[in-house]
Assembly symmetry: D2
Homo-oligomer: 308 residues x 4
């Protein structure tokens, strides 16, 4: 069984292999140049900030469905230890074990492969147990600051959150852009709000994961046409599951990461941001969103901040 023809047709239209050279490791992040960043800084008018990361804790977003992607287990290695003798300054220290995607995170380009290839045509076999991703690892991001744009699909439709199983379509994105009077463009980081994270924030971890709304297989072309640099949303799986095309699982992952070289973010908390955008009356802002630079990692936590 192989990927269906529909996939290959879309892939051909959005493919970016070689666009930034055969050695490129950063894909659409190349679209963020100094000029884009200067303009992004120009979005700062009030100085208001909104953090977009979910807390990292043992009752995190993972429920055990994905083997090995364990929620953060943080433990103390020292508690008020008087390291240099009694009566002195005391130290507390801690350690963590976690799945690198058991968090508000970015997928690295190496996170998925198809037909034996990752982004830019590198062999999937370049990912090994020993070294991780020799190519397309999350450390290749380096830094990530640009204009952020919230496409608040749920609010545009006047609901707290999209129904479970709703595929977010290009038409939904157009509607949200019009609602926010914002035009996603070159180098932007687009945040797509479904409202799904509200379920997790209300304490229902199991209900958050599945069923869930998610991006339609038709959206990568929409992002491609607008030269978007990266896309994140507020769901566990990012895209709609089960898939819209039979036997084509994770097509959005494959199109974004493998074909376009576009990193995608999951489990972002866009609830407070939604309120602030509505309050400020604008859906563009400066976004700081650099992932932790784990060498060879196929994803990494990020603590994004929107600045208005």
């Amino acid at each position: 069984m192989s990927l269906p023809p529909e996939f290959h047709e879309i892939a051909r239209r959005v493919n970016n292999w070689g666009r930034w050279g055969d050695d490129d490791e950063r894909g659409t992040l190349n679209l963020i140049d100094d000029k884009v960043v200067r303009a992004a800084a120009g979005e700062v008018r009030t100085g208001r900030r909104v953090g977009l990361a979910l807390p990292l804790r043992q009752d995190g977003v993972q429920t055990g469905i994905i083997p090995g992607r364990v929620n953060p287990l943080r433990t103390m290695t020292q508690i008020n230890q008087e390291v240099f003798g009694p009566g002195g300054v005391a130290v507390s220290d801690d350690t963590v074990t976690m799945g690198l995607q058991a968090a508000t995170h970015w997928d690295a380009l190496a996170h998925v492969s198809h037909s034996g290839r990752i982004y830019n045509g590198r062999p999937a076999g370049s990912i090994t147990a020993h070294g991780g991703a020799a190519h397309g690892g999350i450390e290749r991001v380096g830094h990530l600051v640009s204009r952020g744009v919230l496409l608040d699909v749920a609010r545009a439709k006047g609901v707290d959150r999209l129904p479970a199983g709703h595929p977010v379509t290009p038409e939904d994105l157009d509607e949200a852009a019009a609602f926010g009077r914002v035009e996603p463009g070159t180098g932007d980081i687009v945040l797509v709000r479904t409202g799904q994270a509200g379920i997790y924030l209300a304490g229902d971890r199991d209900g958050y994961g599945f069923p869930s709304p998610g991006l339609s297989v038709r959206t990568p072309e929409w992002f491609h046409a607008r030269s978007v640099a990266a896309v994140a949303n507020d769901t566990l799986a990012f895209e709609i599951v089960p898939p819209e095309i039979e036997n084509l699982w994770l097509p959005v992952h494959a199109l974004h990461l493998v074909e376009m070289g576009l990193i995608q973010g999951q489990n972002w908390d866009l609830e407070a941001l939604s309120g602030v955008c509505a309050d400020e009356g604008r859906y563009g802002f400066l976004l700081c969103a650099t992932p932790e630079p784990f060498t060879g990692a196929t994803g990494a936590p990020v603590a994004p901040v929107a600045v208005f």
Copy 2:
């Protein structure tokens, strides 16, 4: 044995307990208000960006001296796994175990205690194995974006790095500020470059840790006088070790974290930044530096980015 009188004298002069209310958990980060952030965004002129995080890898900055503070061990939990059947999209995933301070990181206010107290007079006993830091945990930071100021002490003195054992004094900071024609002020995040991280970057992990230059016990008053919000540098221990006052170990930690409520950063890579500041001819910039929000943690990794 208790802390010497000199410590208590300085402590009295810099103490911020109650300054932002008895319930405050954020200390000097309160000094960063919307106005400060607006001004910080105004520092962006060219759009140039510099990442300040060291890569997270198993040959990280820790050498085993601090028990439990282990370098990141990242392992693959899936490699090109065809989760939904053969011939389909394949997934790679990974997990990590690491000391939360085995990285470019921020110390949380709860990281040290003295005389049974942490910042704002909370009992040190509020840190437990079960829950970590009930108060002063790193997740209290929420978001951290402000003006960054590089005090390039090494470059101001015309050296690649300060000699091992050199305590960075208020006079050194003045010199570096004058050299950079920059005035650290309210809400700024001050980065103090000693050049020590160059040793690590050159591959000498053991040489990086000790001996090392570090901040003098006299610097907290300097930062206090300027209403600085946070301070980071490019060393393992942050302050000078062994200490300048006999039997007073980690006084800068205790003054910053416990007395002032000022978070401090360690293992920051300021080498590239030093070159860019010199090249741009300015030592102020927008700094995005939000730590990963581990609930109850006494410290956390950060992937800071300076934007010019």
Copy 3:
């Protein structure tokens, strides 16, 4: 609120503090002397062996109810890595993160405390984040080989497993001993079979933990009277939960570990053993059951083997 009088009355009757000296760390394991072991070896007649450990895997017995007691997450750090060059011998290696009691395990004496004390009157405060259990850690066991005795309570009653919520009483133990024509005595390791592990082995992890049968608060006196060295069973919580005496949670833990200095085992797989005992027509055997010697640990995995 403190422990009820009933608890203190039983505690007085079974207390072993000072019995083997004020410095003793091994409690009732002192009852296993060379003579006991010689006799235990004499139980070997056919040479048949039965392993009693559940497999260590991510879908282990823990379900997340006990924070931090995570099931084993085993990951590969090398897969067929040709360490010394291409075409040579290739190495695979792995690493694990796990709760030390997320397994077929022994509780160490330090696992519980009450009224500020652990076994032999040591202060509970001798357990620290830095060093773990300074006293009563699992490494104090050293080695553990003795006669094992299966009290097959379920089979004696003619059921596959005891009903959920059934407290195993001294009368049940008498019945099982009579059924097996075996007399638990000095230095024996008593294995109490409820049949509950059959639920886990059948794939129902959630059903295994709670509700469950478990030992009654009246059994520690029964074990004490017979000079038993250690007791293990095939349940998650070991004792009956919720408890038989109001507001007295974990009384069996407190009586065994704190008062008697008797280590107790949980999550043992006694299903195959039950069949072999019935088949061999005898309920005594040589038992090898040394826990992994984690220094300062409050429990550790064990891979017990019964030899007939």
Copy 4:
């Protein structure tokens, strides 16, 4: 570059593929039958016991040379936590992260491969990040109790330990067997003492690993001829490193694990055992040595006990 002809010649002579069926996963452990175990139990005369496991702690035997094989990091997840309310029974619990071979351990048959094959001709590719070793994992051992035989090469030569770089030859093994008046035979677990672990026990971790004595490439044939079930010693690398035949690294691993299907143990503490054997005047004993049954693991800790 491929393995030299000398290797293939020895391999042909010791190969056991198919000997116990095409589906066999236990190799030479098949040689331990009930009769062997009965005889092993007959070795118990005094009831004296000796534990052979090194303590599991953060300053364990690994020094960082083997990436990912980290020493045990044990941390408390609860310390005297009054889980069911104040004044009640309090619980302490812990968790660990460790390389599965960073301990007194057994290599699983899947630990090494050569020419794309593991034991019994299975493809090396059957080891994956997702599931570990589908064949030849350590859980296949099930249980391991047999006669243990100490070949005390160091004591036979009248030295505390063999010189660094000394390859232990078949002649050395003959000499030690004669010295101990013991004849290794079918189903035995042979323990080869070099004395090297004494360096670790004396506190010199770095000195323990390399340089070290180790088994010669000529010993697998010696073990094969005697139908030995398993072999363990008191060194980090098991065999002599650098190797005796140019460009043939880890030949003993490849012969034992891949060709013979014979598991091998490393980092065993044979120091106390050496004294007891000399004292008892006999070098055979009952040995309990079941590894922890991690599913799919390429090795696992073991807490072996010799019973005299």
